[in-house]
Amino acid sequence: MRNKKQKWMLFLCAAMIGTLILSGCSQEKGADAETATATVAFPWSPSSLDPHGSDSWEVMRSGTGETLMKLDNELNTVPWLAEEWKREGAATWIFQLEENVTFHNGKSMDAASVKASLLRSIEKDAKAKDLLKIKAIETPAKNQLKIETTEPNAALPAHLADPSVIIGDVETLGKEDTYPALTGPFQIKQYQKDESLVVKRYEPYWGEKALLSEITIQFIPEGNTRLMALQSGDVDAAVDIPIDNIAVLEKNNQFQVMTAPSLRTHMMLFNFDSPLFKNKALRAAVDALIPRDEIVESVMKGKAAAAIGPFPELLPFSQGEEGKAASSFAALMKNEGWQKNEEAFWEKNGSMLEVNMLTFPQRPELTVMAEIIQSRLLENGVKLNLRQVENIDEALVKEKWDVAMYSMLTAHTGDPQYFLNLFYRSDSGSNPSHYASPALDGLIGQLNGTDNKDKRNELARDIQKIINNDLPQSFIVHPETVFALKKGMTGFSPHPIEYYYITAQMNMTRE
């Protein structure tokens, strides 16, 4: 009797397991393009879903938000929610908006709603205010926007591609009881703070419909965990893979590693207030010693490009200068009156050449680069004292230093104007080298008022010629962005602009 009962139980268990396996298989095979889903791992997690504020990049990365303009793969400013635009006067612009665009709550997007959204973004985000310099916005027609700026701002179309000015229905933004209604190909389905964001296809989307029905974004800040989440199959793709781990994935044919040049520049700042580096010859001598190619290979494992200027070479206005120092380091030093002492260190008027360098822990690769530079200088008779500080920006203002490692996103809207104004103008508070050049200030002023693209590129190149000649910084490398994907994922690839990640073209085919 007991054996019979056990047999029945066994049969029932086997049947249940079999049903579960079969239902799992049928679900997997049945997942066509209409119902396909994917999971991706991002290192960043938004503190809120408000697109106007410090989380705008994370919202843009989720594929839910759109701006009036966007940047294409060649970093040209192209239409997005605004189908065309023209400049009417020195500081007046007209934008014609796309028709048939609806927010995720079904409301139509028109000039009035875009105006409300732009005004909210400059009220909530100081960066948006700096980028747009808006004086007034008018709505001459249902789908036409007239923007007047406080001063000539030729980069306005490019700056309207910045995520800080994502267009949304202001009635739904910053509310606790509803998710933001934006205009992207995906709409927010579920948000769990610090954990995940689930977005689903927005069916009435005005453009090309999304291929995936749903995407789950897992927030995984730790690089090694992101890698192992991908290896274990918990996620289908991971962004910002630590460079040291790339080789592990490249050996496995289940994964593909994709890279794209970024618009970031790792650099070494010279302090113009330092008695040593006021001297241009000394800046040039130290710059010539930086082994950029060696740093690309050994520190960045080949996932970077040696920098020859502030902007990466993929930008049309990039202007570099290779092999700046024609003479040897020793010859340059001797020309400046330095002599080697008994310990083979350079000295002048009895005092040894000793350089104080700052670095910071948030970008560990910069400290490794600093050590390489330190060793190279030591080989050439220069003592470099390396000090790591917790907050580099505060240390640059409050402490004594000669050189410092630094990293900047130099053209985050594909345009040089914003960076050049804030990083190089003599009256800017964000000019860490304390570098001042009236000629450069004049050219930057001209750039701000020029809207002809070729002319702007030419001006930007002229500005870089002055920078490369005066050497307020030594540009070291432009790192690449690294993504790793499971086989079968398409349309998800790194872009030089660090906020275009999830797009309508993203798809996942499972075997």
């Binding site: 990049w57 205010k129 610090d194 954990e195 090694n224 965990t225 917790e390």
Partner: protein, 312 residues
């Protein structure tokens, strides 16, 4: 009973004083430490920041007020259980912390369970087979437990159980399976160390006269072990477990970061990186409150369990 009430009252006063001093100390240390929250917020993506934007944000966040005035505001907020608003999310700090507290308590509770199980099972087994191979394993485990850093153990467990074997999720929170690896990482190390403490307490208790007396009265081995030896040897371990639980609530930052566990520890690391002063201060008040509260509970438990304490 009267003694217990008085004892409880004294501890509550102590708790208030500790929280006040800890939070005041945190306020001043934070302000002395380098870091400008306004700059960190505006330069989140390594994009230059204008002076005007910086000045406006500093004013908006109240960072341009004198330190004394900021301190008075903070005290007012703290005593009214408000704790201000997060610089980053612009949400009330109390909401931000309470939103993440359940995840931390869940992880700490599971970690404590693992720790207690390991302590008891390994401690008792190695005490009763004190000269065999089990003892050697216990000694080795204690050595490993005290010397392996938790971040390394965490990665090792993910690699073995998720990447190689595919048994458990590598990160996140949701199901019971998600809890296994972080709880093991949190509890294994401490459990194997406390097992050695319990073992030595048990061995010491076995030689006590009351055990000889129990044997002489003809009590069974199991009864002597469970109701006499273990009760006696377990008391010091209660204190350790209490301290460990408080430590797990306040100090599981690394484990939460490794496993992307959405608790207080992971949140506070982000708050420290962004110099979100109201959140850091609120966190310190909350964790010091919980820390002292757990110690009070342990003290009360100790008095209830150990008659000698009540006599004193």
């Amino acid at each position: 009973m009267k003694n217990i009430v008085r004892f409880g009252f004294e501890r509550v006063v102590q708790l208030m004083l500790v929280v006040f001093f800890v939070s005041s100390l945190t306020f001043w240390l934070l302000r002395l430490a380098p870091g400008d929250p306004a700059y960190l917020l505006l330069s989140a993506h390594n994009i230059p920041v204008s002076n005007e934007a910086l000045t406006n944000l500093r004013e908006e966040l109240g960072l341009t007020d004198s330190l004394a005035s900021q301190y008075v505001n903070w005290l007012q907020d703290a005593f009214t259980w408000q704790w201000g608003t997060s610089y980053v999310s612009r949400e009330p700090v109390i909401n931000e912390l309470l939103h993440r507290l359940p995840a931390t308590l869940e992880l700490a509770g599971a970690g404590l369970l693992v720790m207690v199980l390991v302590t008891f099972l390994m401690g008792m087994a190695t005490a009763f087979y004190s000269s065999g191979w089990l003892n050697k394993i216990g000694r080795g485990a204690a050595l490993l437990g005290s010397s392996i850093p938790s971040f390394w153990l965490g990665f090792l467990l993910i690699y073995l159980c998720s990447v190689q074997l595919g048994w458990l999720p590598s990160m996140g929170r949701g199901t019971l399976a998600h809890l296994v690896l972080p709880a093991l990482t949190l509890g294994l190390g401490l459990g194997s160390v406390y097992a050695r403490v319990l073992r030595s307490n048990l061995l010491e208790a076995m030689d006590q006269p009351f055990v000889q007396a129990a044997k002489a009265r003809g009590l069974s081995k199991r009864r002597i072990l469970l109701f006499h030896i273990l009760k006696h040897a377990f008391l010091p371990v209660v204190t350790m477990i209490g301290t460990s639980f408080a430590f797990m609530i306040g100090g599981s930052m690394i484990i939460e970061s490794i496993f992307s566990w959405p608790g207080l520890g992971k949140y506070i690391i982000e708050a420290i990186n962004k110099r979100d002063y109201p959140v850091i201060q609120g966190y310190v008040v909350l964790t010091s409150f919980l820390f002292v509260l757990i110690h009070i509970v342990v003290d009360i438990l100790y008095r209830l369990v150990d008659p000698r304490m009540r006599v004193q």
